[in-house]
């Protein structure tokens, strides 16, 4: 027993050290805060003066470090501010000379001090000597001085920015405020970094604001509703060495509730219209949002949060996502309605976000209706060695998609455990009418054609649920013993039901008329499927043994999946020369398919750390999962050839190694190497499908001998950030090589009429390599910010496939790269230029060598005066080339000009001109082995739209009540 007690004592010791590490990281943040001193707010030619001084508590005889010293021009215009250094000293440079200034010194726990000063033009410098502050508990009432809040201050281990100290226009939002803060970079993709360190979470009053998408908070919350912004490190982060940095927006006491929204509509040329509506209410406990949209200008959204984000008060500009999507195929009418509710049951609302235990309910409802009409024409060339098949295809398709989506989530955290319940109910219905004509020609001038008319109605209901319960092992300091276990139990289910009604009218005509065919076929397919997943992970089994820690930490991980799919297909053909339908005995079927999949095994992990205080922290983690997969598939059907009962066992190991090097003040680098294996099992459609002969040109046959493919993947990841406040640099790299044994590949047989029969075979191994790198850098100069980014992505793959029973090697390579530069001045002007290149080459040795290149240049400018005029324009030059097909050039030019009116800029009138040059052609290229296709579809083209919108918003609903009180 004593033996064990001593072990606990050691662990307590280690635990204490862990706390120390947390303390260290927090202090590092503080250090960074000091290095952000003196940030210029305004350029001024007379700004050549220097102000130096010392902040002191004379009564207690010491100098005050990290006091905030702010210099204002008359009229409370903030000129510069900084924190006093470790010795209480401060030194300002580039301060206007010869004019009256006011210096305000403040520090938490002390009364502020104000002093007027003029920097003499003769010397251009002034020494204020000692500025004495007095502690608040000593300060007498009569000498209390009111002063503006300091722009920046340290509050314990939290860095705080007070909104009141930053003068922005009355309609500024949270995003505008953050852009003004020193060390804070709001990146074009929405990422926020503070001194180069990524903000993992943006919270408002300690909670997510409507969604994980920070844009909703950044673009809607009025800057005037914000009291302060806090930046801190999450102490409860599972990685105490490098804890996540979070940002919390604290609202003013009387602005803790409010609403914001938009109601707008526009009408334009060619009967184009767009209408949006959103109203969102928030209070300390509840967030509720109702949102709707309807348009025929290709503005769509997939969920409530996206739609809320699209209707943001400051959502306009070139970086806004809610533009007409000119690449979308066809003409689309989109209607959507959504509802989002979040309620916090937490008793202690005032707790700091990192100390809070969640007790949160979230529910969403989203209804969408997308009507779509596509007219597509395409030409394909299929190369078969000496022979070629040309294929022309035209489709006229009309569809309507109605989807309703309910989701809910409840999260409850306890001291040593957590419970999460999620559900998702999805209803989807689709009606689709299509007419397709195909014509195929071979070298010998064999011609054939088909006409197809399909009418499909499809409904599906899906109920999906997730239940997760996790406990963590902890040391009971009273009992001096460990309690509980590190355990995660996760259960997931999915119940799915669908019905499909389909009518196909198909005709096939060939030069040999004996091959002509006509089919009039009706389908009724019912599918009932369910999936259950039980995941049980026991972590750190070795710690339960109460023995000295083993060489490796051992976990037991197991995931069992059971899925069951029952499908009843009733298919009938119209009898010849009759209006009656007779059952198609081949396609009519009743089948049951079951899969049992278990992946389990022991996981061995080991971590190491090498650190020297104030120098570096290098840590590594090794993980080896000895996974064993037992997989069985069983299919019972009315067709004897579909009786399948297969059982497999594979060893599916996963090995990873991560190395993190944090050189304090210099950089942080992460290296990760992962080797992963997985098995892809052929499904019933690949093994033994019922072949529908109504598809004349593409017959998908099965291969009963098809075996699973075994995939090996080796990845290398590298992340770098330079931890700099002013000019942050980020770099992310990923390189992967993969090897697929028994690769499942195509085998296609073409006849002389251009008809093809496909089935899958196990080919020679697939070898592939990918490389991706993203580098970005921001440069902040006063209110000007330049952000540059370069991305490079390349892929090479080599595999075999069969064409007309001859085996061909296929080599596919692609390269894409984008260079983007954006410049912004305050929140007034944004200019962005991007150049991108995409190239693809596919060689099928002996039969085809296809290339395709695309250059794209985009440029945009957005200009918005705080109250009034705004303008944005975006130009997109496209240049596509292929050796096999003709070159294509087109330019899409869009522009918006608008006016924000009313007191709070709540009113908006906007004129939009889209595709001004009338050049939008949705032209596409695809290369797939020996087939190259180019085509075009009908797309949204030039239109003009006049829109009126009103943005109702109010922060602080109970303001009048609180005043009365």
């Amino acid at each position: 027993m004593i033996y064990i007690i001593f072990y606990f004592a050691i662990l307590i010791c280690i635990d204490c050290k862990l706390n120390c590490f947390v303390k260290k990281s927090i202090l590092l943040l503080v250090f960074i805060a000091f290095s952000t001193c003196a940030v210029a707010q305004k350029k001024d030619t007379s700004a050549v003066g220097t102000v130096v001084g010392l902040v002191r508590d004379s009564l207690h005889n010491y100098n005050l470090a990290s006091a905030t010293i702010s210099i204002y021009k008359t009229g409370e215009e903030l000129v510069k501010y900084q924190l006093s250094n470790n010795y209480g000293r401060f030194e300002f440079k580039e301060i206007p000379v010869g004019i009256r200034l006011e210096i305000v010194v403040s520090k938490l726990g002390y009364g502020p001090l104000k002093k007027n000063l003029v920097i003499p033009r003769t010397s251009n410098s002034i020494n204020l000597d000692t500025l004495n502050l007095t502690k608040l508990n000593i300060l007498l009432n009569e000498v209390k001085i009111s002063a503006p809040p300091p722009p920046m201050q340290m509050h314990g281990d939290t860095l705080e920015f007070n909104a009141a100290a930053f003068k922005l226009d009355t309609n500024a939002v949270a995003g505008d405020f953050l852009r003004k803060l020193p060390g804070v970079t709001v990146w074009t993709d929405g990422l926020i970094t503070v001194n180069g360190k990524k903000i993992n979470k943006l919270l408002v009053e300690g909670k997510e604001f409507f969604s994980t998408d920070s844009k909703i908070a950044l673009q809607n919350i009025a800057k005037n509703a914000i009291q302060k912004v806090q930046v801190y490190q999450n102490k409860s982060d599972s990685d105490p060495i490098n804890p996540a940095t979070e940002m919390n927006i604290v609202l003013k006491k009387d602005k803790k509730d409010g609403y914001f929204g938009k109601i707008g509509g526009g009408y334009g040329s060619d009967k184009h219209f767009a209408a949006d509506g959103m109203i969102s209410y928030f209070s300390p406990r509840t967030q509720l949002s109702v949102v709707g949209a309807s348009n025929n200008v290709n503005k769509t959204a997939g969920d409530v949060a996206t739609l809320i984000s699209y209707n943001s008060f400051k959502g306009e500009g070139i970086l806004n996502d809610y533009h007409s999507d000119f690449t979308r195929q066809g003409l689309n009418i989109f209607k959507a309605f959504g509802l989002s509710l979040q309620h916090d049951f937490n008793k202690d609302l005032a707790a700091r976000p990192e100390d809070k235990r969640s007790n949160l309910l979230k529910a969403d409802y989203f209804l969408s209706d997308l009507s779509n009409h596509i007219l597509e024409k395409s030409q394909s060339i299929i190369t078969l060695g000496q022979e070629k098949i040309s294929r022309n295809n035209s489709i006229d398709e009309t569809s309507s998609n109605l989807g309703s989506h309910y989701s809910g989530k409840y999260l409850k955290e306890f001291e040593h455990s957590a419970f999460t319940a999620e559900f998702l109910i999805d209803h989807h219905s689709n009606n689709n009418q299509s007419v397709q004509q195909m014509k195929s020609m071979t070298n010998e001038s064999d011609e054939s054609s088909s006409n197809s008319k399909k009418n499909v109605s499809y409904t599906a209901d899906d109920l999906h649920g997730d239940l997760k319960f996790s406990t963590s092992r902890y040391y009971d300091i009273i009992k001096k013993d460990f309690r509980s276990v590190n355990l995660t139990i996760y259960y997931q289910f999915d119940l799915f039901k669908s019905t499909q009604n389909q009518l196909n009218l198909e005709s096939f005509n060939a030069s040999d008329t004996s091959l002509n065919k006509y089919i009039n076929r009706k389908y009724l397919n019912n599918v009932n499927a369910s999936t259950h997943v039980l995941k049980t992970d026991f972590f750190s089994l070795t710690s339960l043994l109460r023995k000295p820690p083993a060489l490796f930490s051992i976990d037991f991980k197991n995931t069992f999946t059971y899925s069951n799919r029952r499908e009843i297909a009733d298919v009938a053909d119209q009898a010849l020369l009759s209006t009656y339908y007779v059952p198609n005995n081949y396609l009519t079927n009743n089948s049951k398919y079951q899969v049992k999949n278990e992946i389990g095994g022991l996981n061995f992990s080991k971590t190491g750390r090498n650190f020297l205080d104030s120098r570096y922290d290098k840590n590594w983690a090794f993980n080896f999962f000895a996974g064993n997969q037992f997989y069985s598939q069983n299919n019972v059907s009315q067709k004897s050839f579909q009786y399948i009962d297969r059982h497999y066992y594979y060893f599916v190991p996963n090995i990873s190694f991560r190395y993190n090097d944090n050189e304090y003040g210099d950089f942080t680098k992460n290296y990760t190497v992962v080797y992963n294996t997985n098995v892809v099992y052929p499904n019933m459609l690949q093994i033994a499908p019922l072949v529908d002969d109504a598809n004349f040109y593409f017959i998908d046959a099965g291969n009963i001998n098809l075996k699973p493919s075994y995939n090996h993947e080796l990845s290398f990841l590298y992340n770098y950030d330079n931890s700099k406040a002013k000019n942050p640099v980020l770099n992310n790299l990923k390189a992967t090589i993969s090897f697929v044994d028994r690769n499942i590949t195509d085998s296609t047989f073409y006849d002389n009429l251009g008809r093809s029969v496909h089935y899958f075979i196990n080919g020679a191994p697939l070898k592939a390599a990918t490389f991706y790198d993203y580098f970005s850098k921001a440069i902040k100069l006063d209110q000007n910010q330049i952000q540059t980014s370069v991305s490079l992505s390349t892929r090479y793959a080599q595999y075999n496939s069969n064409i007309n029973q001859v085996n061909y090697s296929t080599f596919n390579s692609s390269l894409s790269t984008t260079l983007q530069v954006s410049y912004s001045y305050k929140s007034l002007l944004t200019i962005s230029i991007a150049e991108s290149y995409y190239g693809n080459r596919s060689i099928q040795k002996g039969i085809s060598d296809y290339t395709y290149y695309n250059w794209r240049t985009t440029g945009g400018v957005a200009f918005a005066l705080p109250k009034g005029l705004f303008f944005n324009s975006r130009v997109d030059f496209n240049n596509s080339r292929s050796a096999q097909l003709s070159n294509i050039y087109y330019t899409i030019w869009n522009a918006d000009i608008g006016w924000r009116f009313l007191k709070g800029a709540n009113g908006e009138i906007k004129f939009s001109a889209l595709d001004l040059l009338h050049q939008n052609k949705n032209i596409f290229y695809t290369i797939n082995g020996n087939i190259i296709t180019n085509g075009s579809t009908n797309v949204l083209q030039q239109y003009f739209l006049l829109t009126l919108a009103y943005y109702p918003r109010k922060f602080g609903l109970s303001k009048s009540n609180s005043k009365k009180l």
């Binding site: 260290k24 502690k135 820690p549 020297l612 120098r615």
Partner: protein, 424 residues
């Protein structure tokens, strides 16, 4: 060897023999003298600052030689002998010996990768010139040249043997151990007559022969916390130590034969834990979370030292602050906040503690030898301070000049040796 020193060395032994012989007869309890203690009223928020030359008569920076062998992270524990500074470094889990000029002497290489083999405590026996490094699975003894003398595997304790948690030798083979609160009752097989005592007297082979400061059943469930040098501190005397009792702000002086309540610290209501914090069972298991919520409340007195007329200690609360390390002058009653002492020419404008670094927050003033107090500053901190001094044209002394010439920001920390003025 003088007669006094012989007496000093023999006395504890005599007491040990005396106690041991009595021990055969049963439990030996050292009575706690609580009759004459000094009440100190401390208001950290009103602690004064000052310049280094106002508070210290001597400031010495001792750069610790950096070689590939001697490279280490932080001074987590420091023992001072006649010839060496003996440092336990948590970062590399090594024990390093430097001579009094900072020259590297020898090293006990830690095994930081394995928790089982980590050195978690280092105690120096000045009489036998031995370093005892305790780890989870074993206890090793080294000489001052870092030669391994012996390694003992940890096993079940024998009757009357105690588990050493925080201890100090007061003679070649006698020690004082400060135990943690343990919920071990009489029915437990691990119960010994000395289980329920905070202070235990034992021989070097852990055989307890006397104890003092008994704690109650309710106190046995205390989740006591401390940090830094705690709860038993040495302040330059071979036979006298301070013991700081958790949550009571009480400092006891422990000698080989007496336990005396010496100081009781009274804090402002705003900074005090509730008066019944130790005894009220409602707090059982909730004390840590209470302290995390009430971060201004001082829950422990750590790193307690006495140098002549001055007491030094850390008034620890959950949130580090600038008034947590304090100097209290027993003559004048003046209170000085260590972190508010400003560098001046006595320290070549170099700091005496490193702000915004984990080093001082985690370890504080690491040692006191009765004449000097000790802390350390990272080379990064030293060079940053030198950069700030660029315009001030400071003329550094020879060791510092050499240090700034030959070292880099990534070199070993620099030991800071400070001598307090007697009258403050």
């Amino acid at each position: 060897m003088s007669t006094t020193s012989i007496t000093r060395k023999l006395l504890p032994l005599l007491f040990a023999i005396l106690f041991s012989s009595i021990a055969c007869l049963g439990q030996n309890v050292v009575k706690v003298d609580t009759a004459h203690y000094l009440s100190l009223r401390i208001d950290p928020s009103n602690a004064m600052g000052g310049n280094i030359s106002d508070v210290f008569s001597e400031v010495n920076y001792i750069p610790l030689e950096t070689t590939p062998e001697s490279l280490f992270g932080t001074v987590s524990r420091l023992s001072i002998t006649d010839k060496y500074y003996i440092i336990l470094d948590d970062n590399t889990n090594s024990v390093l010996l430097f001579d009094k000029t900072g020259k590297f002497h020898a090293k006990i290489k830690g095994k930081s990768s394995s928790i089982a083999d980590r050195v978690i405590s280092m105690v120096v026996n000045r009489w036998t010139k031995r370093i005892i490094c305790s780890g989870y699975s074993s206890e090793s003894t080294y000489d001052f040249d870092c030669n391994l003398i012996e390694t003992n595997k940890r096993g079940p304790l024998q009757k009357n043997q105690i588990n050493l948690t925080s201890y100090q030798f007061f003679s070649a083979d006698s020690l004082i151990n400060a135990d943690t609160f343990n919920d071990v009752d009489k029915s437990s097989k691990d119960y010994t007559p000395y289980s329920r005592f905070m202070i235990q007297y034992a021989t070097a082979n852990k055989n307890a022969y006397a104890a003092g400061l008994k704690y109650s059943d309710s106190e046995s469930k205390i989740d006591a916390q401390g940090s830094g040098i705690w709860p038993l501190t040495s302040f330059g005397s071979d036979t006298s130590f301070f013991y700081s009792k958790a949550y009571t702000n009480s400092i006891y002086t422990i000698t080989p034969h007496t336990i005396k309540l010496s100081y009781k610290i009274f804090l402002p209501l705003l900074n005090s834990v509730p008066t019944d914090f130790l005894s009220n069972s409602d707090y059982t298991g909730k004390r840590l979370s209470y302290l995390m919520k009430n971060q201004s409340e001082i829950y422990a007195i750590n790193n307690f030292y006495k140098v002549n007329n001055n007491l030094l200690f850390e008034a620890t609360s959950a949130a580090p602050n600038d008034e947590d390390n304090l100097v209290y002058n027993l003559h004048s009653g003046n209170l000085i906040a260590y972190k508010h002492i400003q560098p001046d020419m006595r320290s070549f404008n170099l700091p005496i503690y490193e702000k915004n670094s984990a080093n001082f927050e985690n370890n504080g003033l690491v040692a006191c030898d009765g004449k000097y107090i000790y802390t350390s500053i990272s080379s990064l901190g030293m060079f940053r301070a030198k950069d700030l001094n660029k315009t001030a044209q400071i003329k550094y002394n020879e060791p510092l000049t050499l240090y700034f010439q030959k070292s880099t920001r990534k070199d070993n920390p620099v030991l800071v040796q400070l001598k307090l003025k007697d009258e403050l």
